[in-house]
């Protein structure tokens, strides 16, 4: 199995919980967003406070947690959105 590097971004309250706005994680690819969530919750102490099923985006598109993640992708965890 190959290993990919994924750029992770946290926003708003999640950035406060994680204590950072970005990080990079290595995952076995092909992976899913759910794999990245698990990885991040284990790797970053504050990220354990993120929900197990957060709203997520891959490469700036809303996705479900079973969406595929590949090497070089940008995965963002988004608190419930409240625009407008």
């Amino acid at each position: 199995m190959a290993t990919g590097t994924v750029q992770v971004r946290f926003f708003a309250r999640y950035a406060e919980l994680a204590g950072c706005e970005t990080t990079a994680v290595s995952v076995a690819v092909p992976a899913t967003v759910a794999d990245v969530v698990r990885q991040v919750r284990e790797a970053i102490p504050g990220a354990a406070l993120l929900p197990e099923r957060p709203l997520a985006a891959v490469n700036m598109r809303h996705v479900r947690l079973d969406a595929p993640v590949n090497d070089g992708d940008e995965v963002a965890f988004l608190p419930p959105v409240a625009g407008g």
Partner: protein
């Protein structure tokens, strides 16, 4: 297209952007920061965004609206940073040959923007505290079509 701004939203500029001689109806929506006396008063809201994705998402949802109401001209502005009470955080203008399309397209854009734009609010209370707004009843996971 400059959708995001840190300056006050100028309605007349939005309207000028969509004006055209073939358009007989223009619908404008402004979302404004409202006071909440029951929460001890709100002085403003600090808006933050995943900016590149907010722009991409607005591109997508305006393209959807233009496909659905083909002759409609649309302009959107979302303000970021501190927006004081009574000022607009979002402005949408939709101009169309006939008013039904203008109303429907304008409504579509605000409804989709509320659901999809990666933008967050921190409410600034009169007592000096600040609170992330977590829209009640909003599912934690939203798929590409807004389904959980």
């Amino acid at each position: 297209m400059t959708y995001l701004t840190r300056d006050p939203i100028v309605v007349s500029a939005l309207i000028a952007e969509v004006a055209a001689p073939q358009c007989g109806g223009t619908c404008v929506f402004l979302g404004t920061v409202r006071d909440a006396p029951q929460d001890g008063g709100v002085t403003g809201i600090e808006y933050s965004a995943y900016e590149a994705m907010a722009v991409a998402e607005l591109d997508r949802l305006l393209a959807e609206a233009r496909k659905r109401w083909p002759e409609t001209r649309l302009a959107v502005r979302h303000r970021l940073g501190l927006v004081p009470t009574e000022e607009a955080s979002i402005g949408i203008a939709a101009a169309a040959p006939h008013r039904t399309a203008a109303f429907e397209a304008c409504r579509y854009v605000i409804e989709e923007a509320k659901k999809r734009l990666p933008i967050w609010k921190k409410e600034l209370r009169a007592d000096g505290t600040a609170l992330w707004v977590d829209p009640a009843g909003r599912p934690a996971v939203v798929g590409p079509e807004g389904t959980p």
